[in-house]
């Protein structure tokens, strides 16, 4: 280490450059080639059946994503936020949850939604424009998608503070102790709200896991525009641990999230998990990544596909036969057909429903506006009101 001035060590040497492969600090349990590897601190404690389950989750999640993208191209959705390439990060994080845990998603957590049992048609409904989130958050402990970047990390922290006050943190009862996962991306790490969430969570030792999917791109801006140091290292400045996990390794994201959640449930406070991954698709269906990034990079990341490595692992070790893969393909095809048919049947909201939920207690003046609009609509022949 060199000391070139009174400003201390050369930061480039301390933190190192951003590594294409995530660098030596990357926690990995299954290599891109499908080899299980050991890590001194984290291990995948699931069964072979669990691995097959994670594989199935990822395949079905990818099918939801590709079907939704196609449905947008067919004009059935206004827009779709693609998760292609991020299946392992989301399924690992999603399956590490216990029922009593709570998730605060961005607008791209389709895989986590799948793990929580949210009907994928509800996700499509939001992007079709029939509602702004049609699922009941408390039914699956999965919050509504939040479009404002990073805002939900504060909600997650406040919710976790509520859990502390409810006495469901650190009791030692595995069915009682609970924690929160706050999802966000590399772009959101620049938002004030995310940094304030870190401060509040640290200050109150709140049971929250900050799960950052660093997919390298915030629309067109690369990670270097957001951070000069690896994102996970930021946690130290806030006073809690940060880890970087291979976001394309479902065994590792599962193991690390599970450990971070347990730490939170035990009352030991927040953890930042940086899932190092890559956005293989566009930011959304309106985006054109060929304008700002090299196809070479995309080709390199294809070799690290989250699903392919599990498939290789299962096949090479004789843990799944052709019938298994055929059955999942059949299931995915059926899911695709269900989505294609279901999305067209989603009913448009009624015009007067605009007024229904502005307030818990409707105001007289809004009721008057609604009645006026109803009368106006009625004045047309074949009124929709």
């Amino acid at each position: 280490m060199t000391h070139s001035s009174g400003f201390g060590p050369d930061l480039a040497e301390v933190f190192g450059p951003a590594h294409q492969d995530g660098g030596p600090e990357l926690i990995q349990l299954l290599t891109p080639e499908g080899e299980r590897v050991e890590h001194p601190d984290f291990a995948f404690d699931g069964t072979d059946d669990d691995v097959r389950g994670l594989y199935r989750d990822m395949v079905l999640t990818r099918r939801i994503d590709t079907e939704a993208t196609a449905l947008q191209r067919h004009g059935e959705l206004g827009i779709w936020a693609q998760l292609l390439g991020q299946e392992a990060a989301q399924i690992g994080a999603g399956r590490a949850l216990r029922p009593q845990d709570y998730v605060f998603p961005t607008y791209r957590e389709h895989g986590v939604a799948w793990c929580r049992g949210v009907d994928p048609l509800n996700l499509l409904g939001l992007f079709r424009g029939v509602d702004q989130g049609g699922w009941d958050p408390d039914a699956n402990n999965f919050g509504l998608y939040t479009i404002v970047i990073g805002a939900q990390t504060l909600h997650a922290t406040g919710y976790a503070m509520g859990m502390q006050r409810d006495g469901v943190v650190g009791t030692g009862d595995p069915d009682r102790d609970a924690a929160v996962v706050a999802h966000f991306g590399d772009g959101a790490s620049s938002q004030g709200d995310v940094n304030e969430a870190f401060i509040f969570a640290a200050s109150y030792n709140a049971p929250v896991v900050f799960f950052c999917q660093n997919n390298q791109w915030a629309i067109s801006e690369p990670i270097e525009r957001q951070s000069r140091i690896p994102l996970y290292q930021r946690a130290l400045g806030f006073g809690f641990p940060g880890l970087r996990v291979d976001g394309n390794d479902v065994l590792a994201t599962y193991a690390v999230t599970k450990a971070a959640l347990q730490r939170a449930r035990d009352g030991q406070g927040p953890t930042l998990v940086e899932a190092y991954t890559y956005r293989m698709g566009a930011h959304t269906t309106t985006d054109d990544p060929t304008r700002y990034r090299l196809s070479d990079d995309v080709e390199k990341w294809k070799l690290r596909d989250p699903i392919a490595r599990v498939e290789v692992y299962l096949k090479r070790n004789g843990l799944a036969d052709d019938a298994f893969f055929a059955a999942i393909k059949e299931e995915a095809d059926a899911l695709g057909a269900t989505l294609r048919e279901g999305v067209k049947l989603l009913p448009d909201p009624q015009p007067l429903s605009i007024f229904d939920h502005v307030y818990s207690e409707m105001t007289d003046e809004l009721a008057a506006q609604r009645d006026g609009f109803a009368a106006y609509l009625d004045s047309f022949e074949g009124s929709r009101a």
């Binding site: 702004q132 049609g134 509504l144 406040g158 919710y159 503070m161 229904d356 939920h357 502005v358």
Partner: protein, 326 residues
């Protein structure tokens, strides 16, 4: 049995009562704990209810409101204090994009029973950002309800009613009135409903509409006008969103004249909305256009000239004269 209280005391007693009545009520803000808030509105509450219910927060307004959103989702009823009006803007995004919209977004599945207390208005000789009147920005936002108390007794009742509301309430407190006057509080009385306006002085010649710190000014103006044989009816609006127009319209139909007075800038302020609604509803009763009295459309000035900037008794009477002379 009555007690003589200031507005600060009324709010403090109201918060205490709400916390006694409902264990889900939490207070959060900067310096609200041991210090009792910079205006002492939460004085003694942390000592009696503990640090889990009266929470000293980091100095981050978006963080305060954003975490309160999460607490509300978990079933709590957070009451957050923004230390001064001019410091609410870091939380503006959370208030407008989240607090105001979550009930709508979730089609009523998530309630947002949050109260955001904001000491507002000028006249205390403060430095920049400590004397502002941002109410119109929140009244313009669907999903929020906005109220302003003007006196100690309303402070006691309205804060409890706001906390009991399942909708988010921006609760504006006229800071210059905190320790100014005392009034008799009868805790066994039945208060008016929260979202209602009130005629605080009956009159026949001109209807004067106001809220918060300007109510006192308008009452003094009415007193002065009475000495000149002019009878002003003064209405304390109390609720700014929704507006309670019934008593306003009833009054203007009788007087034929209306003046709106607030400390906020005139341009696109509450007065503009009131003028439009009065014109729509009372067009044939009006003897004069609805006039507005407010701060000039400039940033809040240095405090040595704030009395020139803020509308006062004479500016209210000047508008009354112009209305009567029209």
């Amino acid at each position: 049995m009555t007690t003589k209280i200031t507005l600060a005391k009324g709010l403090n007693m109201g918060l205490r009562k709400a916390m006694e009545d409902d264990p889900k009520v939490l207070l959060m803000g900067e310096d609200v704990g041991k210090l009792g808030g910079v205006f002492r509105i939460t004085d003694g509450l942390q000592k009696d209810f503990g640090e889990d219910r009266v929470i000293d927060s980091p100095l981050a307004e978006s963080g305060i409101v954003g975490t309160a959103v999460g607490m509300a989702m978990r079933g709590y009823r957070p009451v957050v204090e923004i230390q001064f009006d001019g410091f609410v803007y870091p939380a503006y995004d959370q208030i407008v994009c989240q607090v105001a919209k979550i009930h709508f977004r979730s089609q009523g599945k998530i309630k947002m029973p949050m109260v955001i207390r904001i000491p507002f208005g000028g006249g205390i000789g403060a430095v920049e950002h400590h004397s502002e009147s941002p109410e119109a920005q929140f009244a313009h936002t669907p999903g929020l309800k906005v109220v302003a108390c003007s006196n100690p007794v309303d402070g006691y009742w309205m804060i409890q009613q706001a906390i009991a509301s399942d909708d988010p309430v921006i609760f504006l407190e006229p800071k210059r009135q905190y320790h100014a006057d005392k009034a008799e509080l009868d805790e066994s009385a039945t208060p008016d409903a929260l979202f209602t306006s009130r005629v605080v002085r009956a009159g026949t010649d001109v209807t004067v509409l106001s809220y918060g710190p300007m109510v006192k000014t308008c009452l003094k103006a009415a007193e002065a006008a009475a000495g000149e044989g002019r009878s002003l009816e003064v209405i304390d609006l109390r609720t700014l969103s929704p507006l309670d127009m019934a008593p306003v319209l009833e009054s203007v139909r009788r007087t034929g004249r209306a003046v709106v007075a607030h400390e906020a800038h005139v341009n696109l302020g509450l007065g503009a909305e009131l003028a439009a609604r009065i014109t729509e509803e009372c067009f044939y009763s009006l003897e004069a256009p609805v006039l507005r009295v407010g701060a000039f459309d400039t940033p809040y000035p240095p405090s040595r000239i704030e009395e020139d900037y803020l509308p006062d008794l004479d500016r209210v009477l000047d508008a009354v004269d112009r209305s009567l002379d029209f």
